[in-house]
């Protein structure tokens, strides 16, 4: 399994994402001007402030050269995971339903939250079971998910009851597309891959992607649960 982690000008979580991926497979950084995913089996769009979040978070990044390739990769069924700013980019690109609005509090929130796995039948959550609670941090100002048309099947993660940090509709923390090969979430699983930092639960998403590797493409990664 090879992960490609995209770095935009203004990304800031790409190295943590890269290191999280490397716990479960090979991983390489891709630059926003790349038009080639260099053989990546899965793409991760990390958190940060791509292009300074000018205009709206993710609005400019979606037009970067690499996103043309990512859009084709996703259309061909390739798994794409967007974290925080990456989620905003995927929504702006129309690869995921909905949009992210400023937090209800208008404040930056930075805290550990529990999210509940609502759908374990995706390439991103198959190392989990429905109802599992994962402890992961959030840190954002523009994380209030809004989507008039999102379906229940597209909801992958919800903030645990009483823990919605931003006013997201129906406590939604992470969604996928109808085909389930593109997922975005506001919490940061890449910051929760080692017990040293309080939780290793976030690793389950990267582990899921490694398990989701197509048959015959290489050795399967042993589960670490």
């Amino acid at each position: 399994m090879k992960f490609g982690v995209i770095r935009f000008p203004g990304s800031c979580d790409e190295v943590d994402a890269l290191l999280a991926c490397r716990r479960f497979g090979d991983a390489e950084l891709l630059w926003h001007k790349d038009r080639d995913l260099r053989g990546a089996d899965a793409v991760v769009i990390p958190g940060g402030f791509s292009y300074g979040d000018y205009l709206r978070a993710g609005a400019i990044a979606r037009f970067s050269p690499v996103m043309e390739t990512v859009t084709r990769f996703a259309a061909d069924g390739g798994p794409v995971l967007g974290i925080c700013n990456g989620f905003q980019v995927l929504c702006e690109a129309g690869l995921l339903p909905g949009a992210l609005l400023p937090n209800r509090s208008l404040r930056f929130v930075c805290r550990q939250v529990d999210v509940v796995v609502e759908n374990a039948d995706t390439p991103f959550t198959r190392a989990c079971e429905e109802g599992d609670r994962l402890s992961v941090p959030v840190k954002h100002t523009t994380g209030r998910y809004h989507s008039p048309g999102v379906s229940e099947e597209e909801v992958v993660l919800r903030y645990a009851p009483g823990q919605n940090p931003n006013g997201s509709q129906d406590d939604i923390a992470g969604v996928c597309n109808a085909e389930r090969n593109v997922m975005g979430l506001m919490p940061h699983p890449e910051h929760a891959v080692d017990p040293l930092t309080g939780s290793a639960d976030g690793g389950r998403l990267f582990q899921s992607l490694a398990l989701a590797q197509p048959a015959g493409a290489g050795p399967a990664v042993a589960p670490v649960r």
Partner: protein, 83 residues
């Protein structure tokens, strides 16, 4: 020509910025203020004003959460934008 694009949060979408301003004004002694919404203004020099709505749909606004309004902006006396 100079175009002016007004972008507002779509009706029905919670606008905490507007609410914060609405609550701040009475604290300063201004009464009778209602329905405050905070959006943004984009001014741009264009050859063809009729292209601006498309620019809004694709980049300047996010039609899922924002409404936009395009108009021709008055030129400044020096013929350009005042900075």
């Amino acid at each position: 020509m100079r175009a002016r694009v007004l972008i507002r949060p779509k009706e029905g979408i919670l606008d905490p910025q507007g609410q914060a301003v609405e609550q701040a004004l009475p604290a300063l002694g201004f009464s009778g203020v209602r329905n405050v919404h905070v959006g943004r203004l984009i001014e741009l020099e264009v050859d063809d004003l009729s292209q601006v709505p498309q620019m809004c749909e694709r980049l300047l606004a996010n039609p899922l959460i924002e409404d936009y309004e395009v108009m021709e902006a008055p030129r400044h006396a020096d013929g350009g934008a005042k900075r």
